[in-house]
């Protein structure tokens, strides 16, 4: 995992278990805006404000018209759907564990084709608002990639992502399964020393039948749950021998 600055070519987008980067030209802005309440009184030296309920938005996805079976048109042209979304920002490379990831459960408000003379056939889809029927206890959309999209055929025995300190503020996991051949469980482990890992209690997909991919979910913990300093993805295979998935962790 690199740190520092990056460019848009390393952005990867997962919506409802479907990888959309190969159909997307732009996405965003990815925003977290707190409307401000003016609490200035006459005797104050300067105007003062407090932040109110935040608005979290994934902005607009601008893409290409492409009707292949795996993509945006085939899956979401009807619009009006609501799915978990993860936008992973790879740092000068494909996203890797520890890279920043913007997450939420967004409504695809529309899917509209653009038609202009001598221009590419393009589409746009707005994802402005968190689905109110899928709220988590958390307003923070920014977390880190736990598992970059890829196939796994066994449990994780490696080291984890370092968040510099344990937290006792809960959090949530977002997962997107794009392929699989049976039942399996995706979860998050944590560790105080990056050597001995245990399951983060409750942060599990439960057993899912990955042969029904695309699959997706957001799993939230209580707002006081502790997550240790180091975290890693975990996969428990049951009937599945291979699962292709992406996962992100957001600390509360």
């Amino acid at each position: 995992m690199a740190t520092g600055r990056t460019v848009s070519r390393w952005t990867r987008i997962y919506y409802g278990g479907v990888a959309l980067a190969c159909y997307t030209q732009q996405i965003g802005p990815l925003s977290m805006i707190f409307p401000t309440a003016d609490l200035t009184t006459l005797c104050d030296a300067v105007k003062g404000y407090l932040p109110a309920l935040p608005e979290v938005s994934a902005g607009t996805l601008n893409g290409v018209m492409d009707n292949d079976a795996a993509g945006l048109f085939a899956r979401f042209a009807a619009a009006g759907v609501s799915r978990p979304m993860s936008v992973a920002l790879g740092i000068r490379a494909e996203p890797a564990a520890g890279d920043p990831c913007f997450n939420g459960y967004f409504q695809m408000q529309n899917y509209q084709a653009g038609v202009q003379m001598d221009a590419a056939s393009t589409v746009s889809a707005e994802l402005p608002t968190w689905d109110i029927s899928q709220l988590t206890p958390y307003a923070n959309p920014w977390g880190k990639v736990a598992h970059a999209l890829g196939a796994e055929t066994g449990a994780n025995t490696g080291t984890g992502v370092d968040s510099l300190a344990a937290t006792a503020t809960g959090g949530y996991m977002v997962y997107h399964v794009s392929a699989g051949n049976g039942t399996a469980t995706i979860s998050i482990d944590d560790s105080a020393d990056n050597i001995t890992f245990g399951a983060v209690s409750g942060m599990t997909s439960g057993e899912i039948d990955t042969s029904g991919a695309p699959l997706y979910g957001i799993i939230s913990l209580a707002k006081t749950a502790t997550i240790k300093r180091y975290t890693r993805w975990q996969l428990a295979l049951n009937s599945a021998t291979s699962v292709t998935f992406f996962a992100a962790l957001v600390r509360g």
Partner: protein, 167 residues
């Protein structure tokens, strides 16, 4: 080096703010607006006046910044730039969680070199009841940039131009 006087260019401007542990960090910026205090203007013109007239009312000092999205680790002010996302995403999370506290902000304008005490700066040293709060954090993956907005905590002291660093 000693403080310079005269004109300068924006490359010598530095932006510093508290992180969630009240440690000052330098983060990369492309634009800062506005640097300074603005006063609401109350129009008190009467029909019989020779010219329109107003009085200044309550001041405000909002700050908006943009810069490159950067995940570098947080480092001490003297050691270089901290990652913009590293600092700002944590501040945003604190606001969302209701644990945010007023922040120090220091905008230092070096005069033809890196800022020295004695050269212009604008900002506020935070206390429990005075300082800035992050009110918006937006990332544009297409440009590789962020934007952030800050407003003053209710009852804050008035930020001011000076020549000494904030803390």
């Amino acid at each position: 080096m000693t403080a310079n006087t005269g004109r300068t260019v924006s490359k010598w401007t530095d932006f510093r703010l508290h992180d969630t542990s009240a440690t000052l960090r330098r983060i990369p910026v492309m634009t800062i607006s506005a640097v300074g205090v603005t006063f609401d203007e109350t129009d008190l013109t009467a029909l019989q006046d020779a010219v329109k007239g107003a009085l200044p009312n309550m001041p405000d000092a909002p700050i908006s910044i943009t810069g490159p999205f950067d995940t570098s680790a947080a480092v001490a002010v003297g050691a270089g730039l901290s990652g913009s996302h590293t600092v700002l995403s944590a501040l945003a999370a604190a606001v969302a969680a209701g644990t945010a506290v007023p922040l120090s902000v220091d905008i230092q304008i070096g005069i033809r070199h890196a800022w020295e005490s004695g050269e212009p700066q604008f900002g506020l040293t935070a206390s429990a009841t005075s300082g800035y709060l992050l009110t918006a954090y937006t990332v544009d993956p297409n440009a590789g940039t962020y934007s952030a907005e800050f407003r003053l905590f209710p009852g804050s002291s008035l930020p001011a131009w000076g020549t000494a660093a904030e803390s």
